[in-house]
């Protein structure tokens, strides 16, 4: 208890005896609780629930007609899941913005296995994946992405005239 401050001349004054208690505790802990509550708030509605991820539906008429083992997108599924937006935007840029007559990659997309596809969302992708709600929108809504494809592209009924 008699601990004192020391300098080179010796001990000179008692160390302060500060009462061990919370000073302004109610403000500090109220602040802490408010902070933790604010952090927890967005998560609370879903705690304990199991939220299934969206399942991409492949049961469109066109896909049903294809034999089980031949059902293959123009690129591998894993790649498409991560990169389809890049591919579509490249198509758009090539076809709508930079395409010149005879440009090598203009209207056609060459898959790694050598097959050629018309570079068109409405005519190629949605030929098979005609179920936009069940194929595109589900996942886009799930991760809160709003692509601006549908500002121009028709989603049902009429198709664009065949290019050529």
């Amino acid at each position: 208890m008699d601990e004192k401050y020391k300098n080179e001349f010796g001990a000179f004054a008692p160390r302060p005896q500060v009462e061990k208690k919370f000073y302004n505790g109610k403000y500090i802990f109220a602040g802490l609780i408010v902070f933790l509550a604010m952090v927890a708030l967005p998560f609370l509605p879903n705690v304990g629930k199991t939220i299934p991820p969206p399942v991409r539906q492949l049961d469109t008429p066109v896909i049903q007609k294809i034999a089980e083992k031949d059902r293959q997108c123009i690129m591998p599924t894993e790649w498409m899941r991560a990169n389809h937006m890049q591919m579509l935007i490249d198509w758009r840029d090539n076809v709508v913005r930079t395409n010149e007559k005879g440009a090598p990659n203009g209207r056609y997309f060459k898959a790694p296995d050598g097959q050629k596809f018309l570079a068109s969302l409405t005519n190629t992708c949605m030929e098979c994946h005609s179920n936009k709600e069940k194929f595109c929108d589900q996942c886009h809504n799930y991760v809160a992405v709003a692509p601006n494809c549908w500002g121009c592209h028709l989603t049902e009924g009429k198709k664009l005239a065949e290019a050529k």
């Binding site: 500060v18 000073y23 802490l32 705690v47 199991t50 991560a82 890049q86 991760v143």
Partner: protein, 344 residues
């Protein structure tokens, strides 16, 4: 190796090491560790560390008010006080709230930042002139970084909530307003990384600042840069299966953790760095975030002139009243012709 290089390189190596650990680790069968165990552990350490630090802080008495010289304190009625004075040197709780709000939301203290430099003097070409000038770039870099980081954090709620709340979606649209590149570039991400590079460059290029910078100053900068860069790479270059990422994130906050297969390693690098940031937070300079609310020169009403504040660690002091002193030395004082109160 000189002081600067040692502290700079240790911090850089630490962050690169963390990146390597996550990159290699997530390609083994330890995905459950990096995807589930580490995030929960980091959240636990963050909350526990925060509570612990606040308890320590709450036990420290702060008895004295510190009126600041930047504003005229309340005094005689004919001394006028402008709004600046009232906000800088508040005499009521209302203005105190104003001062704290300016400090927390607008970084007012940084805005007052001065820089002292020797500049060339046109009147005296041989010598130099010492000037003090208001250096706002630090304030600008700091506020740009902090608000961008806040927007980035809130934006990530789209992975942790289902359905995604409307305000978060609106914020995302505003953030990607320019619809430049696909996926749309978020301005907050760019601002955050640019501001971080500025804050880092400032530390390195200013010699006096470099001299006082420690590894603990560089580490958070590199760590958050690592988070920002890995996030930007993941969004625009090395794309990952975002639906699987959301499944993992939702699993964490719904307490039903899952590790969906097929998420690229760069995601685990990003996640691991974020976890390290949360775990590191309570034990580092990053505690300035709650700490700003504890600034003793900011968070108390400057009322010393009309309220008595008693130091809680005052102890009884032995002292001698004048009359006792005179009793002791009366004869000597009379002899030396020093006037006394009582003659005998």
């Amino acid at each position: 190796m000189d002081f600067f290089k040692r502290h700079f390189l240790v911090a850089l190596a630490a962050v690169l090491g963390l990146v390597a650990v996550a990159y290699v680790g997530s390609q083994t069968k330890l995905q459950i560790l990096f995807g589930v165990a580490v995030p929960y552990l980091a959240a636990l350490i963050f909350v526990e560390g925060l509570v612990y630090r606040l308890i320590v802080w709450a036990r420290s008495p702060v008895p004295f008010r510190i009126p600041t010289t930047a504003g005229q304190n309340r005094t005689l009625p004919w001394i006028k006080r402008s709004l600046d004075d009232k906000l800088d040197n508040p005499d009521t709780f209302k203005y105190l709230l104003g001062r704290m709000a300016l400090e927390v939301l607008a970084f007012r203290s940084l805005f007052r930042n001065l820089r002292t430099e020797l500049r060339k003097d046109p009147d005296n070409p041989e010598g130099a002139r010492l000037i003090h000038w208001s250096y706002k770039w630090l304030w600008l870099g700091a506020i740009a970084f902090h608000y961008a980081f806040l927007v980035v954090l809130l934006r990530h709620l789209r992975f942790f909530t289902e359905p995604v709340p409307m305000p978060i979606q609106l914020m995302e649209h505003a953030d990607g307003f320019f619809q430049f590149f696909v996926p749309a570039v978020y301005l907050s991400g760019i601002v955050m990384v640019v501001a971080l590079f500025y804050l880092l460059a400032r530390r390195i290029t200013n010699p006096s600042l470099r001299y006082i910078s420690l590894a603990a100053d560089y580490f958070p900068l590199f760590l958050i840069l690592g988070i920002g860069i890995s996030g930007i790479l993941m969004r625009y270059v090395y794309k990952v299966d975002i639906v699987a990422v959301k499944q993992l994130a939702l699993g964490l906050v719904t307490l039903h953790p899952v590790v969906p297969p097929g998420i690229a390693p760069i995601f685990y690098v990003h996640l691991f760095l974020v976890c390290v940031l949360f775990a590191y937070f309570p034990f580092s300079k990053l505690m300035h975030a709650p700490g700003v609310f504890f600034s003793p020169s900011r968070n108390m009403v400057a009322n010393n002139r009309w309220v008595l504040h008693v130091n809680p660690w005052n102890y009884p002091v032995k002292f001698t009243p004048y009359l006792q002193y005179e009793d002791k030395f009366r004869e000597a004082m009379i002899e030396a012709d020093i006037p006394v109160e009582k003659e005998s």
